[in-house]
Amino acid sequence: MTFGTLSTTDLVKDGDREPWRLTTRQIELGLSILSPIVLLAAWEFAARAGWIDLRFFPAPSQVFVEAAAMIRSGQLIEDVLISLQRIVIGFTIGAVPGVVIGLAMGLFGKVRAIIQPLVDATFPIPKIAILPLFILILGLGEESKYAIIATAVIYLVLLNTAAGVRNIDRIYLDVGRNYRAGKWMMFTDVALPGALPMIFAGLKLGMGVALLVIVSAEFVGARSGIGYLIWTSWQTFQVEQMYVGLMVSAVLGFATTALIDALERVLVPWKRH
């Protein structure tokens, strides 16, 4: 069983490339920036030409004008910040115990035996369905928002972390034993770093779900936030405002994912990105 011995390249150096030639990475980055711009331009053109119904699809320029007005009034910033705060706090409350419990489940059969059936039984419940219960218990305030996000996040982080530990190649555990690594060193030098790629996969999934859950929760159970903004603009039929809400949630999703990606690049430099 050979593994990872296939690479015949020595150190990979970017500096060896001819300067005028774009790297694959640069080309891909350019394409990724270009495609939404092209879409927006087509949309703007179609709106001005009167090909699409402006009541449902206002021109992007109109949406930007609306966004600028909302930023000036301070309302948009406020909504974004409150949603962001809910996400950050709820995500942290879910992710940290998710990693710890997941590691314990991966390392210790007994912990797994206790937790796994509970997870299996409750995981299929759509998380947003628990919101009324949380509101009942915690009230309409911030706590119910944190709770619903934390609940949604903890499953994904926990399951991925546990799988990450269990999928560590056996050979690394053998090396640890042969070189007489103690329990603590097995944990810090083998299990945790070995599971990191999967932990990050869990964090990314968790962040996606956190956004989904908070926007839906704010539809019904809030007086502020991006979800609330989208919901009220529907009720008052202010379509431009609704589009601003959608746009902002997209930016938020993009930014949080980028943040986790950046963290991953620092903490998991051995994985090829």
Binding site: N178, P269, W270
Partner: protein, 281 residues
């Protein structure tokens, strides 16, 4: 004759596959001298890795025992020289550690402080020709370089004996040749007892003091051939290979091994046929 470094008596190990028990290694008796380079050849699946894993403490034998003599002045404290260090058949260096941390891993496990273990690690990184790569991560290295790290990790740990399981099997001929020369040089400097598993008769002759040929399943000792009588130390790989005795020795090993490889292939076919037959019914 001095006390052997490794004394193996009646070592056996069985495995159960689908509730059918078979013998992986059967009644192995061995005496390995201190500072000896001992090669093991045998057909695939005859139990070479199993033997090494038992000596490494990664597997428990079913019967028999072995004893690895402690070096002079050895106290058995945590930071004392370990009994053995293994170089594994497959890629085994940690992808998340730099070359330096990989090489220093055993020393860290023994509780040796950072400055000291890095100093030792750097010395062995130099020895295997990787100076300048101490801070590199494994994914930046070629397959051959990774095996060098693995060898440096084992030697840096300063064990009583080294267990090496086909460390060069996955490498191309040229890289293999270079690493064999390097391995011989490091071994000449340290004079550890080495148990070295290989599939290559050629490699065994170049490296070994003695070559043990194992039979196909169950793994038994078929013959032990003395090479050091033919090629004294220190050796030059090129002159060994071009000498007249080399061909003669090669023939001797191969004639012993040929029947075993054929037997192993036949039994593998048989097992495959049985499995297919079972699948259809």
């Amino acid at each position: 004759m001095p006390e052997p470094k490794i004394k193996v008596r009646g070592l056996s190990k069985h495995f159960a596959v689908k509730s059918r028990r078979f013998t992986a290694i059967d009644n192995i008796d061995l005496d390995i001298r201190g500072g000896e380079f001992f090669c093991i050849v045998g057909p695939s699946g005859c139990g070479k890795t199993t033997l090494l894993r038992i000596l490494a403490g990664l597997e428990q034998q079913d019967s028999g025992r072995f004893d690895i003599a402690a070096g002079e002045g050895a106290d058995r404290g945590r930071s004392a020289a370990p009994q053995n260090s293994m170089v594994f058949q497959e890629q085994s260096i940690f992808p998340w550690m730099t070359v330096r941390d990989n090489v220093a891993f055993g020393l860290k496990a023994r509780g040796i402080g950072k400055t000291e273990r890095y100093a030792v690690a750097d010395r062995f990184i130099d020895k295997v020709g990787l100076s300048g790569f101490a801070s590199a991560l494994p994914h930046q290295l070629s397959g051959g370089m990774k095996q060098r790290v693995s060898i440096a990790r084992a030697f840096a740990n300063d064990p009583e004996i080294l267990l090496m399981d086909e460390p060069f099997a996955a490498l191309d001929e040229q890289t293999k040749l270079i690493l064999q020369v390097e391995l011989l040089r490091i071994w000449e400097e340290t004079r550890k007892s080495v148990l070295y598993v290989t599939h290559s008769i050629d490699e065994a002759i170049v490296l070994a003091d003695r070559i043990m040929i194992m039979s196909a399943r169950p793994g038994r000792i078929k013959e032990i051939i003395d090479v050091s009588a033919v090629f004294p130390r220190p050796r030059r790989v090129e002159s060994v290979k071009s000498s007249a005795q080399y061909g003669e020795l090669f023939g001797r090993v191969w004639s012993q091994l040929r029947d075993e490889v054929a037997t192993a292939a036949a039994s593998a076919n048989e097992a495959g046929a049985q499995r297919e037959g079972g699948g259809k019914s």
